[in-house]
Symmetry: C2
Subunit: 188 residues, 2 copies
């Protein structure tokens, strides 16, 4: 396949995850990833800034989906309703086709501290973006930060469940259940 | 003062924060910190493993205070009530005597990404310890993680307010207000 073939980024993501899982993150080179994906190393770096980023560039898309999802909620919606609307958009991102990839990716990240650090950094950026989106809806502080942390907790708990082998509920159902649980915790 | 003088750790913490704030974290050496505190470099390393740790060892004490505070809550207390009891113990840790130090420390950390990373790492450890303490109370998942994230959000929002120049309420009042706000967010 040529370097401009459509889907090169997706093939690189799949090839990287396979190789990292088979041989370990440290033992895998960008050249090997590119070779398995049928592209040149130069093409790899057209899409991803370094060897780790092939696992993380999806986080930027996720952040956009989340924040744009929040804008779809009615102006007067309560914070957890805003989160619910956004998480149903996130559920389209976390489709059944993506589930095996996300599950393998999570296992890899949890086994590699240097990958875990970047994951945490991206989650902090997501939390900041959600808080900003709440402020953009006219919410003050500390409500915006508390709302964002609540939304992020629901997002993350549902994600961990969704990527746990044996769990069959889809992401939207898990997010709805986590929101209900959070309401119980706060009301109790 | 001799190397075994009581209060050496406290003097080292104060000296480090002064020097980091005056000259910058990168430009300050452990030798300078020890000199200002009136102890030897060897004494510094008896208390702190590296130059950053002088700012962070208090986090371990804080984590113990938080988790032990949770144990003081009645067995059947709801999650946010458990958090409230613990945060009132944390409020004794965040005393008025500590406030100026904590405020200067936060400003320093926010201005230095490498310090911010360690702060985030310590907050992740705190979140994990709180979740474990909820599980020790017999709570299952995902409730324990959601409860811990809620408690951590309240803890952190109150801390940011408490260390904001001009804010005069004490930590316990700020934590109570953040819990009330979280209840409103979740109920709304």
């Amino acid at each position: 396949m040529g370097r401009w073939a459509p889907g090169a980024a997706d093939r690189l993501r799949a090839a990287a995850l396979e190789l990292f899982t088979e041989a370990g993150f440290e033992n895998t080179t960008v050249a090997q990833i590119a070779e398995r994906a049928g592209v040149t190393e130069r093409t790899y770096f057209r899409y991803f800034s370094d060897k780790r980023e092939v696992l993380f560039d999806g986080q930027s898309s996720l952040q956009s989906v989340f924040v744009e999802g929040m804008r779809e909620a009615p102006t007067d919606a309560a914070p957890l309703e805003v989160a619910r609307v956004a998480l149903h958009r996130v559920a389209e991102f976390f489709s059944s086709e993506r589930r095996a990839y996300s599950t393998a990716r999570r296992q890899l990240i949890e086994a590699n501290p240097s990958l875990g650090e970047r994951e945490q950094f991206k989650l902090l950026a997501l939390a900041a973006a959600i808080a900003q989106a709440f402020r953009d809806r006219g919410m003050g502080e500390p409500s915006a930060t508390l709302s964002a942390q609540s939304a992020l907790a629901v997002f993350h708990v549902a994600f961990v469940q969704w990527t746990t082998p044996g769990e069959t509920r889809d992401y939207a159902d898990l997010a709805d259940a986590a929101i209900a649980e959070l309401r119980t915790i706060a009301a109790g």
